[in-house]
């Protein structure tokens, strides 16, 4: 019994333990005199050891991913002891799949940070414990089956990320962190208020219980029904903020641009994945009543509108960016739009949940890879930021350009990369659910999206740098290179052999009644 629980929760426990250990190592370890940067700041003991700590954090997260795989193979349903954690943590196949994706995304970001922080002399190795704590929160969030757990997990995840955004002590970074924090608190407050209303209306805090209580509320006027509707509004807005859907996305470009790039990568992949997981669970379990999933008056038309807005606005604005990093930020908003299409499709297609999970996995490897390639393309003082900085880099550094192109093609959804199959299955689910308009809008948006992804490739391969321009010089870092290799292998493997992963994603459902 105990073993079941420990084994089942091992991904979460290992990452939590790793976070504590890394925090100790960071605080009490010996600083590395060679790596110390002459910043004049009071350096803590982990200074100059970003590489080693990054490796440690990545190992912890990859172990977490491996354990998720192990739990998957053992089958969470067979681990009877996991019943103990219900309803606080629902440790089903859905959760385990998401945990794997989260650990993978986190691990890749840590590897990137290992190279990035050293190269740019950011002596703040607390990056790694923060990532690990955030990941613990994200995993708990994906598993949360109860409102209080959900809120605590959400905040655990978010607080770490707020700090990550402000890690670089530049005005821009601080501004981004503050904005993200204020708006995030606002969204959290809305969500908390929604949760309180739900409790008031139903007397329950567990999602399944709320779902049953809502189903029991009859037709007609009444304070209960009104409260549930207002709670739905607030919860949907809170979740939409976390997945950065338009119009709750305003913080995203600023925060993504201001944050150190590995932190951006972490936010783009892990935070978004966890937020989608909890969104699916809350909407399908607590708000899964037929009257709330009605196409006339429930949450599906709301999310469909958000999806259309996210895809269209983000894709149009992304095309006008001159900074590649900011473009990738808008791209992540657009991808949230595609995933929202699949969330809407869950109301009528049983395959939609699997398509969301598969999509999030492909999105994670492609996005982490793309940010990684951007990191690789710039060394200290010669960072690649704009399209111009990348001009002609293919001639000077073909490997970096080729890796970047691979991830961009995957983000654009070109076969046979992972991104293609991610989009394919999302749209297939949408067609299954007879959401033809959404599908067409999604496909048109993929076309628009291809424009700005391919534009980077055009700059890398077909443009010469302007005379006298400072050339971006790729950094030499084994950490970044290994992260890119892992991501590239996964991008190709998921493109060539999508079947097994897809079959697994298809059986990972939240188990709605």
């Amino acid at each position: 019994m105990t073993f079941d629980v420990v084994y089942g929760l091992s991904p979460l426990l290992v990452v939590a333990l790793g976070a504590l250990l890394l925090m100790l190592a960071e605080a009490f370890g010996k600083p590395n005199p060679q790596g110390l940067a002459p910043t004049g700041e009071v350096s803590d003991a982990g200074a100059g050891r970003a590489g080693e700590l990054g490796m440690g954090a990545a190992v912890v997260l990859f172990v977490g991913a491996a354990l998720s795989l192990g739990v998957w193979l053992a089958g969470p349903d067979n681990l009877v002891g996991l019943e103990l954690t219900r309803p606080y943590l629902i440790w089903d196949r859905f959760t385990v799949f998401v945990c794997f994706t989260l650990c993978l995304g986190g691990g890749l970001s840590c590897l990137l940070a290992g190279g990035y922080l050293t190269e740019h002399e950011i002596d703040r190795a607390e990056f790694f414990p923060l990532v690990l704590f955030s990941t613990v929160g994200a995993m708990a969030l994906a598993a949360a089956g109860e409102l209080l757990t959900l809120f605590v997990a959400l905040e655990t995840m978010s607080l770490g990320v707020y700090a990550l955004v402000g890690l670089r002590r530049t005005p821009r970074s601080s501004e981004a962190a503050l904005k993200y924090f204020l708006l995030g608190s606002f969204a959290a407050a809305l969500m908390l208020f929604g949760a309180a209303l739900l409790y008031g209306a139903t007397g329950r805090t567990d999602l399944a219980g709320i779902g049953q209580a809502i189903a029991a509320i009859g037709q007609g006027e009444g304070p209960g029904a009104a409260q549930v509707l207002i709670a739905l509004v607030l919860v949907v807005v809170g979740l939409a903020f976390k997945v950065s859907a338009v119009p709750f996305h305003m913080w995203t470009p600023d925060a993504y641009e201001g944050a150190p790039t590995p932190a951006t990568s972490y936010m783009a992949v892990a935070v978004k994945t966890a937020a989608f997981a909890v969104m699916v669970r809350v909407l399908l379990i607590a708000f899964g009543d037929e009257r709330l999933t009605s196409w006339a008056s429930g949450w599906p038309p709301v999310l469909a509108t958000l999806a259309v807005a996210s895809m269209t606005v983000a894709n149009l604005v992304a095309g006008r960016q001159s900074s590649v990093k900011r473009m990738l930020a808008y791209s992540s908003i657009a991808h949230a739009g595609y995933a929202l299409v699949a969330v809407v499709a869950t109301i009528r297609s049983p395959a939609a949940e699997g398509s969301i999970l598969f999509y999030l996995l492909t999105y994670t490897v492609s996005t982490a890879g793309a940010f990684g390639a951007l990191i690789l393309c710039g060394s200290r003082g010669k960072e690649a930021v704009s399209y111009e900085d990348l001009a002609g880099i293919a001639k000077r550094h073909p490997a970096a350009a080729m890796a970047f192109s691979l991830f961009l093609l995957s983000l654009a959804g070109v076969p046979p990369t992972a991104g293609f199959f991610g989009k394919l299955y999302v749209f297939q689910a949408a067609i299954d659910a007879e959401l033809y308009v959404l599908t067409v809008v999604g496909l048109l948006n993929s076309l628009v999206g291809a424009y700005y992804y391919l534009r980077v490739i055009v700059f890398m391969y077909m443009r010469e740098p302007a005379p006298g321009a400072t050339l971006a010089v790729p950094m030499r870092s084994g950490y970044v290179a290994s992260a890119l290799v892992i991501a590239a292998v996964l991008v190709i493997a998921l493109g060539v052999l999508p079947n097994v992963t897809l079959e697994w994603a298809a059986i990972a459902t939240v188990g709605r009644s």
Binding site: E175, L178, K179, L182, L183, F186, A187, L190, I214, I217, G218, Q219, G220, E221, G222, A225, A226, V228, L229, I230, L232, V233, L234, V236, V237, A240, F241, P247, F248, M250, W251, D254, D289, E290, R291, L292, S294, W295, A296, S297, G298, W299, P301, V302, T305, R320, F421, Q428, V496, L497, P498, N499, L502
Partner: protein, 864 residues
């Protein structure tokens, strides 16, 4: 043998993976590490990869023969690498798994031997030919990659896998044509090949979509099993039910215009597939890329543009023969296009002086013969020509390469070194090249007993006697309607004159082939050498030691008379492949010598084409007639060429040119087809581009851009305002968003949909909503049926033909707010001409024949 069969079972024949992977590994190692490996390493790697692949192919062939022995059914060895994905098909056909699977049967086992065998010889040849090229490792990486792609193409067990190989060989061809990409002309030729092939690939994609829709399968077994569904009629016209604006026309014209036109799905699939084949195999109208493709190194021309890749189209027709025979019209089109291509290309070859150009047009012409063969349903004859053509055309190209190699001693300009007017008398200097070239020459012109003689005569015989039968009884598909039985589609019948026309074209083509090939051979090998003045003990000027064959590099002053040593024979790496190929050209015919009652090839391929053969009828006899015409054509062409170019020293040809300079120039300039395409396609594309540019300038830049820039500037002003740190703007946007979401969820929405339950019975169902209550006005008196709101969501309505009824619905939500909507339900009028009864049943009998069964008819009426 038993041990082999045990290690490689038929349903998991992993030897196929070996055949495929060796060239891939070779390509990878040469491509990535080639620079560090050195020339010997690259040579060894490339040769070992293809040679190993050839050995594995031989073993596979033997195992397959073992499996085939004593079995009527076609033996198959399959290997599934992995499951790739599945696509959802039409609802009644279920989802279609696409596996990365490969299979080997008699057809592609033969092709596989040719590709790896001839491929190996050409690799060996290239080690010398490309010896001094700086891109040596790159060349062999591409060449190995080509072999891999070609093997994927022929071994793939389904259309998508074949398509991967199809694109792969296209890519390699593009890379190798443009191998010397620093030369503008070569780069252009590569691009042309790439673009023309895209047109063909479009056809293949369309065909795949049609297979998914109509058959619900993409693998060979599935397609053959479900091919009867391709006899479904498909309405082509009008799109929708009536042509828009047709009511404005006179009655008879409108009726004619509105008559539905059907074709069978098989015809559509066949045409789409043939478009793909015409692109890859250089048939009218897509042949223009192949002659230009000779800009690549000569071994590439031999391997890709003569022996293997360009025959992929013929292979595809053979592979899907069971589908093609369901569309006799398409088959006739294929045969006709093939015969026309054979004639057109041969007539262009008359007037070419570049020896590679002559061989290129000859290839196009011979490919036309292959399509003529498969088009009349003689699949094994057409495929046999693929094999013999691979032998003699590869030999001819390599021989030409050998001559060009010798010419490069002193002439480095591509055009001059390949000009047959600069050659002559090579017989004396290059005896091995001469002997092998003559071997291949007598084969292509059909000297009795050679491989070309047997394969070409077999095609001519079948062109005269073989026909495709209509796949349905009575040749028409009918439909029962309320107005009676109506004919939907009459199937096309093979015309009675068809065979004679095809045969005549084939014979004329054979005469022309014999003539222009003999002209080529006489020009190169007989007469006096005209390249330069031969001096004994001639020494090369120091700067000329770098010899790079086709690479245009040094340009001589044309007025300065050239001097040089006598041309010499090429090294053994070059003449050994020539000798092997020449031997095969001479002796390969006995694989299928029907005249001598030797036909192991037909027996071997028979089971593969068994299904298709049910729809083909061949008349008996005609053999002696064909024999007479075949030998006559050869004798006439050769004799004429001998008289013109040997006895008269080319005088009649010159006189002819003088008398009809226009005609000659016309042929020399390839009938201006390239120019016509330029005019028609490129120019119209340019015109379109100009229009688009103008639209862009005035409409997009003028109106749209101003509008959007205005909006963006407005938004930008807002954004800049925000960017200074005013986070409350962001918060304000969030509040607005929240309010919008809230407004939607809190406002009531009265929506309803109509469902048709049974004849005349309709239900109007209100959309559910949380806390919603409903009241209805069903009688249309403007009063609610009941003042009270209730939870009744559905109202039933009964209607007669042509009636309609309007209902009103009001909903009240949890906040006590209400919304209203009126819904009209109507039932269409009865239309006597439309009816539910369908079409025909098409069923496949246990013996594999397809029968169409008309309603009320016994299945015995079916025809194969």
């Amino acid at each position: 043998m038993e041990a082999l069969v045990k290690v490689f079972p038929a349903n998991d024949f992993s030897l196929l993976a070996v055949i495929l992977c060796l060239p891939l590994i070779g390509a990878f190692i040469n491509g990535v590490f080639g620079k560090r490996l050195g020339r010997e390493g690259v040579t060894l790697m490339a040769l070992a990869a293809v040679g190993g692949s050839f050995l594995a192919a031989v073993v596979s062939f033997l195992v397959l023969r073992q499996a085939q022995a004593g079995s009527e059914q076609a033996a198959r060895l399959t290997y599934v690498a992995w499951d790739w994905l599945s696509v959802s098909g039409r609802h009644d056909l279920g989802s279609i798994p696409i596996k990365v699977a490969f299979s080997l049967d008699a057809l592609n086992a033969t092709m596989c031997l040719v590709v790896t065998g001839v491929g190996f010889l050409i690799h060996l040849y290239s080690t010398k030919y490309m010896e001094k090229d700086p891109g040596y490792h790159r060349f062999f990486a591409y060449l190995n990659l080509f072999i891999f792609s070609m093997l994927v193409l022929i071994l793939g067990d389904s259309l998508p896998i074949l398509f991967v190989g199809w694109e792969g060989v296209g890519l390699c061809s593009y890379l190798l044509i443009g191998f010397w990409f620093t030369d503008e002309k070569n780069a252009q030729a590569g691009k042309k090949a790439f673009i023309v092939n895209r047109i063909g690939d479009f056809g293949l994609l369309v065909a795949m979509a049609l297979f998914v829709y109509h058959v619900g399968a993409l693998d060979w077994i599935g397609i053959e099993g479900g091919r009867s569904r391709l006899l479904e009629p498909v309405k082509l016209w009008p799109i929708g039910n009536v042509v828009p604006l047709s009511s404005a026309l006179p009655e008879s014209a409108a009726a004619w215009l509105n008559t539905p036109r059907y074709v069978t799905a098989a015809s559509l699939v066949g045409l789409a597939l043939f478009l793909g084949c015409a692109g890859k195999s250089a048939q009218i109208p897509l042949y223009v890329w192949l002659p230009d493709a000779m800009a690549g190194p000569t071994p590439v021309s031999a391997l890709i543009h003569a022996a293997t890749m360009v025959t992929a189209g013929v292979y595809l027709v053979c592979r899907l023969s069971s589908v093609f025979v369901l569309a006799p019209a398409v088959m006739f089109t294929i045969a006709l296009v093939g015969a026309l291509t054979a004639l057109l290309a041969a007539s262009i070859a008359f007037a070419q002086n570049d020896i590679k150009k002559v061989l290129a047009y000859s290839t196009v012409s011979q490919l036309g013969y292959m399509f003529l063969g498969v088009g009349v349903g003689a699949f094994s004859a057409g495929f046999f020509h693929v094999v013999t053509h691979a032998f003699f055309k590869a030999c001819l190209f390599l021989g030409a390469g050998s001559v060009i190699y010798a010419m490069h001693k002193r002439i480095h300009d591509t055009d001059t070194s390949q000009d047959m007017r600069k050659m002559g008398g090579m017989k004396k200097y290059m005896p091995v090249t001469f002997a092998t070239f003559v071997g291949a020459w007598v084969a292509i012109i059909g000297f009795p007993g050679t491989s070309g003689f047997f394969s070409k005569d077999e095609i001519l015989l079948k062109a005269l006697t073989s026909q495709i039968q209509s796949p349905l009884p009575g040749g028409k598909i009918t439909q029962m309607t309320r107005a009676g039985e109506q004919t939907v589609l009459e199937l096309w019948q093979w015309p009675s004159w068809g065979n004679q026309v095809l045969f005549a074209m084939g014979v004329v083509g054979a005469v022309m082939t014999a003539f222009y090939m003999s002209r080529l051979v006489f020009g190169i090998f007989w007469g006096d050498f005209k390249g330069w003045t031969i001096k004994r003990k001639w020494k090369a000027p120091a700067h000329h030691d770098h010899d790079d064959h086709d690479h245009p590099h040094h340009h001589h002053d044309p007025d300065e008379p050239l001097e040089g040593p006598a041309p010499v024979e090429s090294p053994w790496q070059m003449w050994l492949p020539l000798a092997v190929l020449a031997a095969l050209s001479l002796g390969g015919g006995f694989l299928n010598a029907h005249l001598l009652h030797l036909h192991p090839m037909d027996d071997w391929l028979g089971p593969v084409f068994a299904t298709a053969a049910q729809n083909v009828t061949a008349a008996e006899g005609g053999l002696s007639l064909v024999l007479a015409f075949g030998i006559g054509a050869f004798a006439l062409g050769l004799g004429a060429a001998y008289w013109v170019y040997r006895l008269q020293g080319g005088e009649p040809a010159r006189a002819f040119v003088e008398r009809m300079p226009g005609l000659h120039r016309w042929a020399q300039d390839k009938f201006y087809v390239d120019e016509a395409y330029d005019e028609a396609v490129v120019e119209s594309a340019a015109a379109l581009a100009d229009t688009a540019a103008a639209a862009d300038k005035y409409v997009v830049d003028g109106i749209v851009a101003k509008l959007t820039s205005g909006v963006v500037q407005l938004a930008g002003a807002g954004l800049r305002f925000v960017q200074t740190g005013k986070v409350h703007t962001y918060a304000a946007v969030m509040v607005v968003g929240t309010a919008a979401v809230g407004w939607f969820l809190i406002a009531p929405h009265a929506q309803a949909r109509t469902v048709h339950q049974s004849a005349g019975q309709y239900g109007v169902v209100a959309a559910p909503g949380f806390g919603y209550q409903y009241r209805w006005d069903t009688d249309g008196d403007g009063q609610w049926d009941s003042e009270e709101f209730s939870s009744q969501m559905q109202q039933d309505v009964t209607l007669g033909f042509g009636e309609n009824k309007t209902l009103r619905l009001q909903v009240k939500n949890a906040f006590g707010r209400t919304a209203e909507r009126s819904i009209t339900v109507s039932r269409p009028k009865l239309d006597p001409t439309r009816g539910p009864a369908t079409v025909i049943q098409i069923e496949q009998q246990p013996d594999g024949t397809v029968r169409g069964v008309l309603p009320g008819q016994q299945p015995t009426g079916g025809v194969q």
